[in-house]
Symmetry: C2
Subunit: 150 residues, 2 copies
DNA sequence: TATGAAATACGTTGTGC
DNA sequence: GCACAACGTATTTCATA
């Protein structure tokens, strides 16, 4: 197994998760280490893949993607090889893809410009992955992307 | 309605969404504007709420939250006032809360340490929000948090 | 809104512990 | 693995167009 996560690294991860643009100077102060030590540790966390990247959280409505949906996938041909994520990866409207336990095989989180765009996206997903879909439209998002409980 | 999104602001949002720690200097070069102009625009996008914040994307396994689940909520008492998000907000294991169209009222995305923690979380959600739950366990995450198609 | 310049703060690397 | 110091670069503000 991978080596245990030290409290300092945990604190660094927590702080950067809550504020991804936090300066190394601030970060150092918050975790009680020198700037260069923090710098070194952040680099290692990035290399390890514990920190997978940094992103600005955007408002869907304001960037022209006001329609969010959850799409559950069921293979049409149960004997087909399970390469669905690969087949779907190039579709940029798909923000996330989860392999799930339950009646269906995958759940996708998608963002589109309009109901028409959703219709077209569903057609594309069914075609490219050979699946049937069940779509749950998101009416509103009380909250999203909250900091992890670490 | 809010004023239309200019191409430059769109580009800024796209770049920061893809790389949240990108420097203003780089950003300026990428969108073809001076550093101070970009600085000004980023501030405005933050104030407008188009940029809601910045975050480091973390690996659930490595931070000790290896179990992800989607939880659908159905109110036990259909006559009760709909203040579910408020009731659930304090539970930090809940990363996102979507109000959805369909058989159920809400879908939650949660991350926990173990099956036992999930069991306890479900108990807590049912108690605090007076709902019944349907849980879909995530087996693996082929991809997540990809950049928005803008 | 944009730019360019000036002052301050920060990132980054090397050295020694 | 950490701290300190030194250098170059980035951020931030302001004056000006």
């Amino acid at each position: 197994m991978s080596s245990a996560l030290e409290p300092v690294d945990k604190a660094i991860a927590r702080e950067l998760n809550a504020d991804g643009r936090c300066s190394f100077t601030d970060l150092a102060a918050r975790v009680g280490l020198s700037v260069s030590a923090v710098h070194q540790r952040v680099r290692r966390l990035e290399e390890r893949g514990l920190i997978k990247g940094y992103t600005a959280r955007l408002d869907g409505d304001q960037i022209g993607l006001p329609l969010t949906a959850l799409i559950s996938l069921t293979p049409t041909d149960p004997a087909a090889p399970d390469d669905y994520p690969q087949r779907l990866e190039h579709i940029r409207e798909i923000e996330a893809c989860y392999s799930v336990a339950g009646d269906e095989s995958y759940v996708l989180l998608v963002r589109v410009t309009s109901p028409r765009a959703l219709e077209e996206l569903l057609r594309q997903i069914r075609e490219v992955a050979n699946v049937s879909t069940r779509t749950t439209v998101v009416l509103s998002t009380p909250f999203e992307g909250r900091p992890a409980p670490i």
